[in-house]
Amino acid sequence: MQRPRSSQHRSMSFVIRGIRTTSLLALSLTFALLARSQSENARASALIREGQGALDAGDFSRAIHDFENARQLAPDNADVNRGLVLSYLQAGRLADAQRIAESAVGRWPHDARLQHWLGLVYFKEGHNQNALQALQRSESLSPNGPDIHFDIALVYLAENQYPQAADELENAIKLNPNAALPHILLGRAYQNTNRTVKAIEQFRAALRADPNVPLGHYHVGFALASLGRDQEAIAEYQKEALRSPDNPSVLYQLGHCELATSEWQSAIMHLKKATQLDPKNADARYDLGKALLLEGDAAAAVLTLRQAAALKPESPEPHYLLARALEKIGDKEQSQHELQIFADLKKAQPATGGMATGPIQ
């Protein structure tokens, strides 16, 4: 027996109507969702722009606020995650920065910038090995950025790995020769690997790139002094002292060079000021005592050298000079006593240096 056709038709129509209704509903929902998504994306984009503006302005709290909100709206947006990592990093919220960065790096492992910033987070946390790994991953993803080489160099420098740091800084400078700071740091790396002549070239390059680079003349002076070119070093330190008249390190190094060139009165003046600004600088006080002794004021030298010895009790040198100063003022008994202390401290010192042996760095 055949079923009546109308019944089949009705049934089909119902289904079709149902489908149409569902489709319309789904379509409506989709449109609604799309509209909301577009609205959220627009809102997220706006927050990203605002966050970036806050970062540019140095308002890191505001930047964090913006990027956190943006991340609520668009958690899978790479730019949002980058912005939040950078905001936390700049604000010093390193644990948060690390959490977001590690998560984002897991999501976007080939994002060079995220790897870079994760490296910076680790570095600021003192996790240098992790930092180095992250930065090197970033470098492999984007080898032509000058900043990545620079930042890897920072990690090496912090680890006292000067030759490796020098390599990275050389790369950074090739990519951006006009930045002063990489030249300064490369100079430091050279200086600490005894390539002093090359260090001077770098310090001078830094000053050419930026005549006001912090401590630029100080570094040139230090390198020149380590070559025994004390007069030239003094000229550099004097330039630095004009810019930083109350920097005790600059004044100490200036006084030290003046002492070496027998400009005792100037040395005394600068070393006195250095010790006033930094009373715990035993080296400056020692040099001051030495200058006073050479200038003929043995009594003042005794006083100053006693202070130097007290500041650095493990050091034999102040006692040696103190013995000589005491001898000059006729206190032979105390002089002998100081020589004995000197001898005892000498014995306690490890044997380093010598004819064919340089310092163990």
Binding site: N41, A44, I48, R49, G51, D56, D79, R82, G83, Q90, R113, W117, L120, D147, F150, D151, L157, A158, N160, L181, I184, L185, R188, N192, T193, N194, R195, T196, V197, P214, A225, S226, L227, G228, R229, Y252, Q253, C257, A260, T261, D283, D287, K290, P316, E317, H319, Y320, R324, L339, F342, A343, K346, T352, G353, G354, M355, A356, T357, G358, I360
Partner: protein, 602 residues
């Protein structure tokens, strides 16, 4: 979606960190960089005003017939003894009045194993600006790895004898008066057996009229068990592998041999408590620093305190180096003492001391304070700072232009050829330094403008002074590692008057070593002590040379002999040599012939 801009932020993040690092990076004070300062290239001042200086030296070694080549190990210098050769001696072995030359040769490990002989060479001064190699007939035939040489008439027979140090002992050659020498080591008992001697020096410390002998010993080295190149804490220089030592190696105890007066010596090292800590001895000079009439002794030690032995006039010594301020640097640090010499550079009547050191450290100019103490015035004298980039070995006071003020010569050269592979600013070969005494305690370094020979770089070691051509000018003889020596003839245009004195002791030792001679001329008095040995492993002209400036008359001469006797001598002409015999005064005035073309080998 808009893409954010990041670059400025990234840079600032990095820069922020960098700024912190700048402040907190460990950067050593130069005050504590004594042993690791880099050095400036020797060429920095090369060529400046070469033609304008009145001081000029030319190297005439080759044309003068000095065909010597100093062998000292392999070029890589993998072992410490390969860097320390270079003794040179100036002596008049045949008493013809002209200074002859003896050059000590080293060896190599391969030559040692194969028995290949290195004897050193004796050159006779032919009086015409040339020298003749007379080694073959001289009897100087010991084969070994030689280092230093001392000259003195140990048996008072009027003929200079030779003592040569080796890696494993020493040889004393007695002068037979006929141009030959005989090895008398065994009989004399100065063999320094099994020890690596460097510098040695004759001096009569107990004033008994016979020259005693001090031998500085460096390291007790076993050639069968040499320390491995670059392996270990003390085999590094600026973090690069180099030859090991001396730290980490056993020091060799110096020896003091007392002359018994019968051709034999007695080793009194232990009895007199000499070098009880077996420091690494490299330089020796006898002097009477406190003018008490008895010889004292200064020994420069490598990497360990240098020693000043005060003679008590009774045959004993007290070591006073630390108290006197000559054991350490002015900061109380051990230095790598190499060569030493003594003279009264400021004409205050008291002998001062000069000592060379490693690169990255200042050479010392120990001024005699007349109180038994010395003050290192190398800095104020402008002698120290310029020396910092150089590794000094031989050092001699001399009066290059006869002004009456003692100038200074320093032979330089690094010990590690490996430094040339790095941009330390340190080079293996270095130019010598020549310091002109400006008076008032100041010096000026003029080597770079004193002729091309002094502007070049060498691996300099031994250095000696002499008036080789008897023309009233002090010349220089310098050994060069793995190369020919320099015979630097003084051709300076402007020269003052001069006087040369040869002392002959009678009650005192025949050479008159230790005699203090005062020469008054031109309104001031100069003082000098008679000796040959000083510098690094070397012996110089024993005749005292006094520059007199414009003075054309010597007003008075006083000789304080080691025996305690004194000779006072009245006015004398300038520009001549006087032979002064103890108790007799001037026995042979010898006016010098004016300089002639034949006296120039070049």
């Amino acid at each position: 979606m808009a893409h954010p801009r990041w670059p400025s932020l990234l840079v600032s993040a990095a820069m922020l960190t960098a700024a912190c690092l700048l402040v907190f990076f460990p950067q050593r004070s130069p005050a504590h960089q004594q042993t690791h300062r880099s050095t400036a290239p020797a060429s920095t001042s090369k060529g400046k005003g070469l033609a304008s200086s009145p001081i000029s030296f030319i190297d005439i070694a080759k044309t003068a017939g000095i065909d010597f080549h100093l062998t000292c190990g392999d070029p890589e210098k993998r072992y410490i003894m390969e860097s320390m050769c270079g003794g040179v001696a100036v002596l008049d072995y045949d008493n013809d009045g002209w200074m002859d030359i003896f050059l000590v040769d080293g060896s190599t490990l391969a030559d040692q194993r194969e028995g290949k002989c290195h004897t050193g060479k004796l050159y006779h001064n032919d009086h015409d600006g040339t020298f003749t190699d007379v080694t073959a007939k001289s009897g100087i035939s010991h084969c070994g790895w030689g280092f230093g040489v001392a000259v003195g008439d140990y048996d008072n027979d009027g003929w200079e004898d030779l003592h040569v140090t080796y890696l494993d002992g020493a040889i004393l050659y007695h002068n037979n008066h006929d141009g030959t020498f005989t090895d008398v080591t065994a009989k004399a008992g100065v063999g320094n057996i099994g020890r690596w001697g460097t510098s040695a020096a004759f001096g009569d410390y107990d004033n008994d009229g016979f020259l005693d002998l001090y031998v500085a010993n460096y390291v007790d080295l076993d050639l069968q068990h040499l320390p491995e190149f670059g392996q270990g804490l003390f085999c590094q220089y600026r973090q690069i592998p180099v030859s090991c030592g001396p730290r980490g190696l056993k020091g060799g105890r110096d020896r003091l041999y007392h002359n018994n007066g019968d051709g034999t010596f007695t080793d009194v090292t232990e009895k007199l408590n000499i070098d009880p800590n077996s420091y690494y001895g490299l330089g020796v000079v006898w002097l009477d620093y406190d003018l008490d009439g008895c010889l004292d002794l200064y020994v420069s030690d490598d990497s360990t305190p240098s020693m000043l032995y005060h003679g008590d006039c009774k045959g004993g010594f007290t070591e006073v180096g630390v108290k006197a301020g000559v054991a350490y640097s002015a900061d109380g640090r051990e230095q790598a003492g190499m060569g030493v010499d003594s003279a009264d550079y400021d004409n205050d009547g008291w002998p001062d001391i000069v000592k060379t050191n490693f690169s990255d450290d200042s050479n010392n100019l120990f001024h005699n304070d007349h109180t038994g103490e010395f003050t290192d015035l190398a800095g104020p004298a402008d002698f120290g700072p310029v020396s910092i980039p150089f590794l000094g070995f031989g050092v001699k006071f001399l009066d290059i232009d006869n002004t009456g003020w003692k100038d200074l010569f320093v032979a330089n050269g690094h010990v590690n050829p490996q430094v040339d592979q790095y941009s330390f600013g340190v080079t293996y070969a270095e130019r010598p330094l020549l310091f002109r005494n400006l008076g008032k305690g100041k010096f000026e370094e003029i080597g770079f403008k004193s002729g091309s020979a002094l502007a070049h770089r060498y691996v300099g070691r031994g250095a000696a002074t002499a008036d080789f051509f008897n023309e009233g000018r002090e010349d220089l003889l310098v050994s060069v590692l793995d190369g020919p020596p320099l015979l630097l003839q003084n051709q300076s245009r402007k020269q003052g008057h001069w006087l040369r004195i040869k002392t002959v002791g009678t009650r005192s030792n025949r050479d008159g070593f230790g005699a203090r001679v005062e020469v008054k001329a031109g309104g001031f008095t100069q003082v000098a002590e008679v000796r040959t040995n000083s510098s690094f492993e070397s012996a110089s002209d024993p005749r005292l040379h006094f520059g007199l400036g414009s003075a054309n008359l010597v007003d008075a001469i006083v000789v304080h002999w080691p025996s305690g006797t004194m000779d006072r001598i009245g006015p004398q002409r300038t520009d001549q040599q006087l032979v002064i015999e103890e108790g007799k005064g001037v026995v042979t005035p010898q006016p010098m012939a004016p300089r002639t073309a034949s006296s120039h080998a070049n």
